[in-house]
């Protein structure tokens, strides 16, 4: 076998939300599209496209309503997704 072997990063030590193959979800310029399930103030319950639910701070895009698509980064919604665009 030639060349360096594939990286085997221990998810426990690397961070459960950071997979080296799929990109850094937290600290980079990566954001995740989610759908609002239950609007609240200042947090809303949102669901990503894989079905995972979490609490998201929505102050920067408020007001929001159930069904709306948002872009979240670091647990905070930074934009509304414009579906028509």
């Amino acid at each position: 076998m030639t060349g360096p072997r594939l990286p085997m990063v221990d998810p426990q030590s690397y961070g459960a939300v950071c997979a080296v193959i799929d990109g850094c979800l937290t600290c980079g310029d990566v954001a995740v599209p989610v759908t609002v399930i239950e609007a609240g103030d200042p947090d809303a319950i949102c669901q990503d496209d894989h079905g995972q639910r979490g609490t998201v701070g929505i102050e920067l895009v408020a007001p929001v309503e159930a069904g709306q698509r948002l872009l979240i980064h670091g647990g905070v919604a930074i934009a509304r997704l414009d579906v028509s665009a």
């Binding site: 360096p4 990063v9 937290t26 600290c27 954001a31 670091g74 905070v76 414009d82 665009a85």
Partner: protein, 373 residues
């Protein structure tokens, strides 16, 4: 999957690649910089470079927030993390960034209470649940991430949570772009502008690039077709002799940005007179610190830190990689002494770092290319 599949259509990608090739002027070499680490990741992961003509070269920029953190700031964080009674929190990638004497992960192995969080709001929750401990959040990131730290601090202030503080390493995107444009060893033809940073700051801050330097900027999304279309838009501007800021990522990026987020940033932060960037050196007014109104939550005022500037390891060429002067594989330690498992330089730590992205996705294609040659 909605918002994904339609941006990965192979036929459309081939069509765009052909249009890019048609726009390339014979005998001219094009250098286009993707500023953002997320774009670097997409380029390698989807093999975008393989679909471009040989004369169109993508240069990887300084837009990975982990990669630009100097070693001295990591050491400052570790010094605080090792203090008794401190719960030190940071994002996952930051745990592995080597400082002068180990990483935060090493500090954790030695007994420091270091925890990774998905959001600074989670760090605040830890503070709420541990009133007898000092909870410190090591904040990194560009304008995409700074609003989440700002909101967290606003909530801490509103709730009067006193056992929470932030080491602020937030940086801003425009000053390093200015520094790169003024760098004599780098000639570029255009920029693929950052996507989610622009969600917050909008497209207006990039207007100085075409105006003062005559180069096109296209703000781009993160899917393969987004990047190919952005490269096409840059090539079209160059072919038509235009230089403007254009927005390819209009489904997410408003031209004016997120005004509420900008308001929040202005309240919580102020510009530092200067800040050290790994590989780029000290750049004036390129980073944020907490404003006077939030001084009570500023860990740099609360804790004593070494504040020592630490030189990068001699073998490490992250600086040249970050400036786009060399490609990752041209670094002497790439893939041998420096791998994602045992990174020497920060570019190998984060998956958005050019070296890690290339190591994971590009090196096999390159070894095939070399074998063919």
């Amino acid at each position: 999957m909605r918002f994904v599949d339609e941006f990965r259509n192979a036929d459309l990608a081939r069509g765009l690649a052909a249009q890019i090739a048609a726009l390339a002027e014979p005998g001219r070499h094009y250098k286009i910089m993707e500023v953002c680490g997320g774009h670097t990741h997409t380029i390698y992961k989807h093999g975008i470079e393989d679909h471009l003509p040989d004369t169109v070269e993508l240069v990887h920029g300084p837009g990975c927030p982990v990669c630009v953190i100097p070693m001295g700031r990591v050491d400052d964080g570790i010094a605080v993390a090792k203090r008794p009674g401190v719960i030190f929190t940071c994002f996952g990638d930051m745990m592995r960034v080597p400082g002068g004497d180990g990483s935060l992960l090493d500090a954790k192995a030695q007994g420091a209470d270091v925890r990774f969080v998905y959001s600074p709001l989670d760090a605040l929750k830890i503070a709420r649940n541990n009133p007898d401990r000092e909870v410190v959040f090591f904040a990194i990131g560009f304008e995409t991430t700074a609003p989440s730290t700002a909101l967290t601090l606003m909530r801490a202030k509103a709730e009067r949570i006193k056992n929470f503080s932030v080491i602020c390493n937030h940086v801003t995107i425009v000053p390093p772009l200015r520094a790169l444009l003024e760098s004599p060893d780098l000639r570029l033809d255009g920029f693929i502008g950052p996507g989610h940073v622009s969600t917050v700051v909008g497209c207006r801050p990039y207007e100085f690039i075409p105006k003062d330097h005559g180069q096109p900027v296209v703000t781009a999304g993160f899917e393969p077709l987004d990047l190919l279309q952005s490269i096409f838009m840059i090539m079209k501007q160059l072919a038509e002799g235009r230089s403007e800021v254009e927005n390819q990522y209009s489904r997410v990026v408003p031209w004016e940005g997120n005004l509420k987020a900008l308001e929040v940033l202005a309240e919580v932060f102020e510009l530092r007179p200067y800040f050290e960037w790994r590989g780029l050196g000290f750049i004036s007014q390129s980073a944020l610190r907490l404003s006077d109104a939030y001084a009570d939550w500023d860990a740099e005022l609360r804790f004593e830190m070494p504040g020592v500037r630490v030189a990068d390891p001699k073998a490490c060429q992250c600086g040249e990689v970050l400036k786009g002067v060399i490609k990752p594989w041209e670094c002497k330690v790439f893939g041998t002494a420096c791998t994602p498992e045992t990174p020497i330089g920060t570019c190998m730590v984060s998956s958005e770092g050019a070296c890690a992205a290339y190591y994971n996705f590009g090196r096999f294609a390159r070894s095939k290319e070399r074998a063919g040659a």
